[in-house]
Point group: D2
Chain length 383, copies 4
């Protein structure tokens, strides 16, 4: 219950940060998809900490192992199980926390929910929990791109604290983003963000911000009309990430300041005769269903709870005390590492709704073919 996502492309994750291993099972991925260990490892490497001075120095290698579901680097249609063993676990890591509820953390709520307190405080509430999600997302991306070779998901850091980037959403590429150590493709903003992060690190404090993410070349028809609207599923997926506090689709918050006449996206025909919208204020989704335009979301992360300052709190046996994190292995700002997490959740939602739409509308497979032809100008013969 607690760790399942998806209806047809179904992901189950497991693992505590202080346990033996973390990982996932992906069930429902069709057979015949090319999938090797390197694809998954590349995904995991992007979320890995310790990559530069702006992230935590913890040196987990996070090497993955595929236990099932593939043969000769091709999926079998059976559950794909992937694990990553915990290697950099230090016995005393959690010693200072196991009697104190850390402010902003899930220690107290975990203890009250389960009636038991894991040695790491929050049990599954850990950044390492996302390893299973990212491994599963590598499978999701492989599957989606096998059907929609031009589909892509690109995220970037749009703001850290009060430093806002200026990014051209139509032109930004994964390469632009990855060339920046903090995953902000606006070089000017990037420099200021670095300064802010280092200052926060110096002060033992932490910073939040915004990740933008866009999905391109997604066909019309993904998402369900009522509870499982595409934006609702994306919202859940994103809010399920640690430290996320807000979500917008399309113009989101800004839309609430517009009039209907300003906010509606008029339909028109593009040169190939296909229906497109003049503007894209709706962010590529109408009535919960993708309309073929780029899908655009924004995800807000609070400053991480782990800081190196004295804070008031209480102990497990209900005595007032103060708490200050001792070990220095935590990110002052998770935004750079949050980018691949946002992308991962996006891929998982797309994979699931792609399968759902295929099961619901049996002409959709033909629609996809036509879509490829019209949008990406591939000759039909090559599809």
């Amino acid at each position: 219950m607690s760790s399942n996502l998806g209806t047809l492309f179904r992901v189950s994750t497991f693992g505590e940060s202080h346990g033996v291993a973390l990982g996932c099972i992906v069930d429902g991925c069709p057979a015949g998809i090319k999938l090797d260990k390197e694809t998954i490892q590349n995904f995991l490497n992007r979320r890995r900490p310790g990559q530069n001075e702006f992230t935590t120095p913890r040196g987990e290698l996070d090497t993955c192992e595929i236990l099932s579901g593939t043969e000769n680097s091709v999926t079998l249609g059976t559950p794909i199980s992937i694990i990553v063993r915990n290697q950099d676990k230090k016995a005393n890591d959690y010693q200072d926390i196991n009697q104190v509820f850390r402010p902003g953390h899930a220690d107290y709520t975990t203890f009250k929910k389960f009636g038991i307190m894991p040695s790491s405080g929050g049990g599954r509430a850990s950044a390492r929990e996302t390893i299973g999600r990212v491994a599963a997302a590598a499978v999701a991306k492989s599957f989606v791109q096998s059907m929609l070779p031009y589909a892509d998901v690109i995220g970037w850091v749009d703001r850290i604290y009060d430093i806002k980037a200026n990014v051209n959403e139509e032109l930004v590429t994964l390469k632009n983003v990855e060339s920046s150590p903090i995953r902000c493709p606006d070089k000017l903003a990037e420099e200021k963000m670095k300064e802010k992060i280092l200052a926060a690190k110096e002060a033992g404090d932490s910073l939040g911000g915004i990740v933008c993410c866009i999905a391109k070349n997604i066909p019309c028809g993904l998402g369900e009309p009522v509870f499982d609207k595409l934006e609702a599923e994306l919202a859940k997926a994103m809010l399920s990430l640690p430290a996320v506090r807000c979500f917008e689709v399309g113009d989101g918050f800004a839309s609430t300041f517009l009039k209907g006449s300003e906010n509606n996206d008029p339909f028109q025909l593009d040169p190939t005769g296909n229906v497109v919208t003049e503007s894209n204020k709706s962010g590529g989704i109408q009535g919960g269903i993708s309309n073929g335009m780029p899908i655009m979301i924004r995800v807000g992360f609070k400053p991480v709870s782990t800081i190196y300052k004295e804070q008031n709190t209480v102990t497990k046996d209900l005595k007032a005390t103060t708490f200050k994190t001792k070990s220095g292995r935590h990110d002052p700002c998770v935004l750079p590492r949050a980018v691949p997490l946002v992308e991962a959740m996006f891929w998982l939602v797309l994979a699931d709704h792609l399968l759902r739409q295929i099961s619901l509308n049996h002409n959709f497979l033909n629609e996809i073919r036509k879509y490829l032809y019209i949008y990406v100008n591939i000759p039909v013969a090559e599809i």
Copy 2:
């Protein structure tokens, strides 16, 4: 698939705005809960249009009928089926739209998703679709309050267009909200909002805004640690409402501008020795699990798509055209009617996670009893 919500308190809705009836089945509600038709009707009346000059003049009575699941106004533990017949359906209502994709509406995406175009354009994409949700929420509230008599959910209009209300979240009551025709308990702001709405109505345009909603006296422990975090489930529930574009929990967007040292909520002991937080920036949820403090969310609605102005669009047979809504039965601003919808979704999420927590932690029933004692100062003997 398209119309189910919840894991244990499970709601299935059905019905098109142009069909025979709309409604829901609620499955998983325990037996022995007091539930009569009036409770459900009162909920439905709050979402009903045509209540004053600020909402659409459509006169649906929306009278509900309970078909199953209760006897002598008490639930049997079996599926509760509730229907509302469409009465104010006018044959020509949709005549002007059935060859044109209305901008901002789900006509185009519905047609592409299903390969068929309902006469009403968007099929399930209609404000009337929410009838099933609201009827189900009446059941959810009855159930939750049977276990947590002091639990309550209160929503209000926090902003319309650029008019922001000033509301004391701790003191606002349902009565305050309901005494306002636009459900804004700040009388000063309310007057300005009314002006804005009437001006938009005059201009044939529409306005969006923000609904705030708070849940009080909710015990610690609701929500799951990974994908089904309480805020993730709330985000999905809210984004599944028509016209919603953004969601925040706690300080949300504002949190992204704070430092960790400013944003963390320190724990302390209240006079009765219970763990509480000094501030409530996290909005009552930590690590996806409620912490016993008030749960606070904000939900942003775009201006509704139906406006009385000429707009560019295309026809079903792919010809450029213009479209202007003819009939005048649509709200210029849905915010007042959105308040009970936000509350409804909140109750549905709470009911489901209350059952989930009971199944997971078998001491939780005792915890609830203790909670009643500590928080609400009821002598144990009376519980």
Copy 3:
């Protein structure tokens, strides 16, 4: 929870025998399927009691109403809601039972499970509960045959008490079955069965027996390899019917008396070059997956619990007593009416697994086309 079936072709039923109405929501049925009220009514009429002297004289007309999900007798892809109002409810019907646990009935277990006792004793435990299933199955059949026009499901009474029919499984047709008032196409056995039923009726007693059911022209590939094997899903579906006590697939019980060399079905090529099996002891399923041969099951029903003889039992307030059914409106043998129920559950399982296979193997739609060509000898051009 209690009343949902299916993963993609999803059925939710509701209704008590003593309540206002019974019915179902079918969610997940694709758009564009021809479906009118008559199709559903015809299905319901087959399960209706009071059709001849061998069934209960209760005269429910069981007239259905489609509330949503279709327009102009075509499905919209949205939830299809169907209801049947209870009309023949007599106020005193259940008066004699509401303080006594009837032997063999669900009165006691329902009371203990829910902590509440419905006036009808067993709540959902009633033959009328199957109305929702049968209505949903009419949708399922329409959907399956829209994709597999030659697919069919034919059930018949194979044995009543000790009278065994002799039926050629390959040749039996729905028409053969329906021409018999007790749905046994073996005229000789039928006569003896009639005698047995009338004798049991006379004696105030009841009889059980076996229903056989075969699904023809089902393509290879339905069913999942592990928990959701096709035979496992069929077993659950059948055992979920009231009074069912045993289930066999293929040669079933008889297989346990064979050696592997006798029981294996050798593969061979049929004249068109397609893979078939020489024998069909496995009943058309291997490893949980249909192999293209006829799927054959047998379902055993106990004699119904309602008899007109004095029996020992206890009252709700735990006093020993005796009980004898007073009103005479119950079937002495449900087997004839059980046939359409078995068929209904079969269609529901087939519809669900057809959608599941489509979502999993994207070449399956082409496979179906080829199947039609090979098996049924339709020229490809006409498919």
Copy 4:
């Protein structure tokens, strides 16, 4: 989809017989349950082949590893992941089969379903697939017995081929069963069964039979009234095991030869004033809900498909051929090893429905306490 079982006590399994590892995730198990590796290993050892001359000589040790969900041998309430690495994989094991569809096996259906043929032929269709189930069942048993310390599940071989055992269902113990190498507690029958098995082995043939299984001290209230009847869930669980062809609950098949007056179980009060039934023909379930009496099922296994005799079949490229298994590592009769599998599935169903009932009826936890008192005569103070 293909490999998930359970609603609240949720099991996901993975792994191919020719892959790196097999295993499971158990999600939904409450925190605080004692669970160590030995408990799981003991369960796995019972299903392990190679234990004596009556089972396959394959020497897998099947050593398990717990990757997550426990700490200090106590469950955390988080997903419990357990893996078993494949060790005895021989490169050439499957060489002879990868171009031929073995009769009776899932090679052909797997190939048609997924469009791809794993090197082992049937992919997940392998006796080794049950490792994940059995590991999960060890968790299930630990959980169920933590709440119902006197609950137990005991299975035994009731028949092999034509040799029927005579076993007193009320007195048989796990110890009786385990003292027999073929898990038949009737010593006389056991000897004849051994002879039959060795003769079949000699002949290169295989034998089927029946496993009986009883669950004792299960409280009234488990199971749902409609689709998820306890016997329906058990039927699905059992039919999902490899080679199972039939299922009976209570008197099952024999019931269909009785009259209602013979088959109904009259209620009476036991000496402690509790409601019990005089007979138990219903097998402890009425209307889909357990009634507190022993739950009794019978599961029929076909003779395994792997035999050492020449059989007709076809190749993957559709040429007629013959096939004869070469390697000699297969059981001539799976019945002895099927016993722990039947028990495993029983525990999984019980654990799930125990959680479901707790979430549905909040007095049930008190009922259990009372049950312990009444049935097992434990003084209340000790509960």
